[in-house]
């Protein structure tokens, strides 16, 4: 029945990472150096090959049974995306998305820096499975050299049937959005395009295009080796597996960790050394994420199901711990201004809406002026009205801030700020010259 699930015939030369154990993607200890091809094969074994003619359907079904979802932020079921691309009439194109334009997130960069071959395995496997001739791997500039070396190593070893092409992504926030990434690869323009059509139907060279986050591809490469049952030995029933998280802010050892999905938020903070100061708030998911009270969110499982209690989701795996002596409103205003500036500048409601919202938050933070009715109207008029989801994500984050920082809002409206230290916990890159 489960042709892949039995596992044994697929695994060549390596014991699977024991079911229910971690880490799966990251090395046991950070050694600094990326895993060479030899080290990679020693740890994970070769990517299985030489399946019968129906392996595409079998592998997509296995990914479906595994319950793998996209790790780029949206959490879309991977098997459904694979099936949509496979259903196209033309030969597809595969684009691995390692752009990670979110300034607070580092998990894709760390994954590529530690285990580039695991990601390349997944990209090559996806391309091979879908009948694509090449896999285009777009990565952040910080890890380009590592990925280039890994791709060269594979070429020398004549490892892959498909061609691997490595590119540097456009270093801006919207550059990782699927249509923007396709536009960047095709035309050097890192801006989203209008949908429909979706890139899974009509993307690069007008072909069905699989745009998949690099962490998702790494999980895919492991599911191909060890099957759905192995994958599901971690995580929750609804959301199986492990995921990478970036923990920043007021924790003792900020950085990237691999967690079992469903690990309580407090334990995630614990993996990063625990709070380094009394915490005032948590930003969960990313800059499109959700602010939450640590007392409320702390015991919740880090999963879509668990975090829905505070209106949040794991998103791209960010947990930012805001110390109690930094004003959350001021942080929100900074990030809102950054997101407004990072608008692709194409859709009026995004340009003007996010600009107006960021301005209103700056006024509120500086205790100049606060008109809650107007701000809420602007949020409603901005949400859902762009070609991509950039305005929606930004509004979601601001809306959660207004809900969580109610006491701060009252104080600011009366003319004083609770923050004893200037904001700056959340990284916001300097604005590029246009």
């Amino acid at each position: 029945m489960n042709t892949l699930d039995s596992g044994q015939h697929l695994v060549r030369g390596a014991t699977p990472v024991q079911a229910g154990r971690f880490p799966r993607l990251l090395p046991e200890r950070f050694g600094g150096e990326p895993a060479s091809l030899e080290e990679h094969v020693t740890r994970y074994g070769q990517l299985p090959r030489g399946w019968d003619g129906r392996w595409r359907e079998q592998l997509i079904a296995e990914v479906g049974r595994a319950g793998l979802t996209g790790r780029g932020g949206a959490g879309f079921p991977t098997a459904r995306k694979l099936a949509a691309v496979a259903a196209g009439r033309d030969a597809p194109v595969v684009v691995a998305n390692g752009t990670e334009g979110e300034p607070a997130s580092a998990k894709d960069k760390v994954l590529l820096a530690c285990a580039p071959h695991l990601v390349l395995d997944g990209a090559v496997l996806a391309a091979d499975m879908l009948g694509a001739r090449q896999a285009i791997v777009v990565v952040h500039d910080a890890v380009r050299e590592v990925v280039d070396s890994a791709a060269a190593e594979r070429r020398r070893a004549r490892l892959d049937r498909v061609k691997v092409k490595v590119m540097t992504g456009a270093d801006r926030f919207v550059g990782g959005e699927a249509s923007a990434l396709v536009n960047w690869v095709a035309h050097g323009i890192p801006l989203p395009t209008a949908t429909p059509p979706r890139v899974s139907e009509c993307g690069l060279l007008s072909r069905p295009t699989l745009v998949q986050n690099v962490e998702t591809l790494a999980h895919l490469a492991l599911i191909a080796r060890w099957g759905a049952r192995w994958f599901r030995s971690l995580g929750t029933t609804a959301e199986p597996g492990s995921m990478l998280v970036t923990v920043i802010g007021a924790v003792r050892q900020p950085g990237v960790r691999e967690i079992e999905i469903g690990t309580p938020v407090n334990e995630v903070l614990g993996l990063a050394g625990g709070p380094a100061a009394p915490l005032g708030a948590l930003l969960i998911g990313g800059y499109f994420g959700t602010w939450a009270d640590p007392a409320v969110a702390g015991p919740l499982p880090f999963s879509a199901e668990g975090l829905s209690a505070v209106g949040g989701s794991p998103g791209a795996g960010l947990v930012a711990a805001l110390p109690a002596d930094v004003c959350g409103l001021a942080e929100t205003a900074r990030v809102a201004r950054y997101l407004a500036d990072e608008s692709a500048g194409q859709c009026g409601p995004c340009v003007f809406g996010l600009g107006s919202i960021a301005g209103a938050l700056a006024d509120l933070t500086a205790a100049r002026r606060y008109e809650p009715g107007r701000l809420r109207r602007w949020m409603a008029q901005t949400e859902g009205r762009g070609a991509c989801h950039h305005p929606d994500g930004a509004v979601r984050m601001v809306r959660s801030a207004l809900a969580v920082f109610g006491a701060e809002i009252d104080r600011h409206a009366q003319g004083w700020c609770c923050g004893r230290r200037p904001p700056g916990v959340l990284p916001v890159p300097l604005r590029r010259s246009p």
């Binding site: 996209g70 790790r71 932020g73 998305n97 990434l181 745009v211 194409q346 409601p349 070609a387």
Partner: protein, 80 residues
């Protein structure tokens, strides 16, 4: 079940000229910055002529009538 066409705007093409809202105020209002907010419903038969006129008048060719009878705006896969 009858399904009439829906109005759709391409937000990248739209420049907020606002002619559509003048022709079809029953279905199109303008936001605080002058960009059209389109009621997400089928165009009733009595307004089809005005809707077609609004589409024709758009100087940016950003407005169209979508005749495909299906629910709007299903969540779409993003890079994931």
């Amino acid at each position: 079940m009858t399904t009439g066409p829906r109005l759709r705007v391409n937000p990248i093409a739209c420049d907020g000229r606002g002619l559509c809202a003048e022709v079809l105020p029953e279905m199109i209002t303008l936001d605080d910055w002058g960009f059209p907010i389109i009621r997400d419903a089928e165009v009733p038969p009595g307004l089809l002529d005005e809707a077609a006129e609004a589409v024709r008048l758009c100087p940016r060719l950003a407005l169209r009538l979508d005749h495909r009878a299906r629910a709007p705006a299903a969540p779409q896969p993003r890079a994931g």
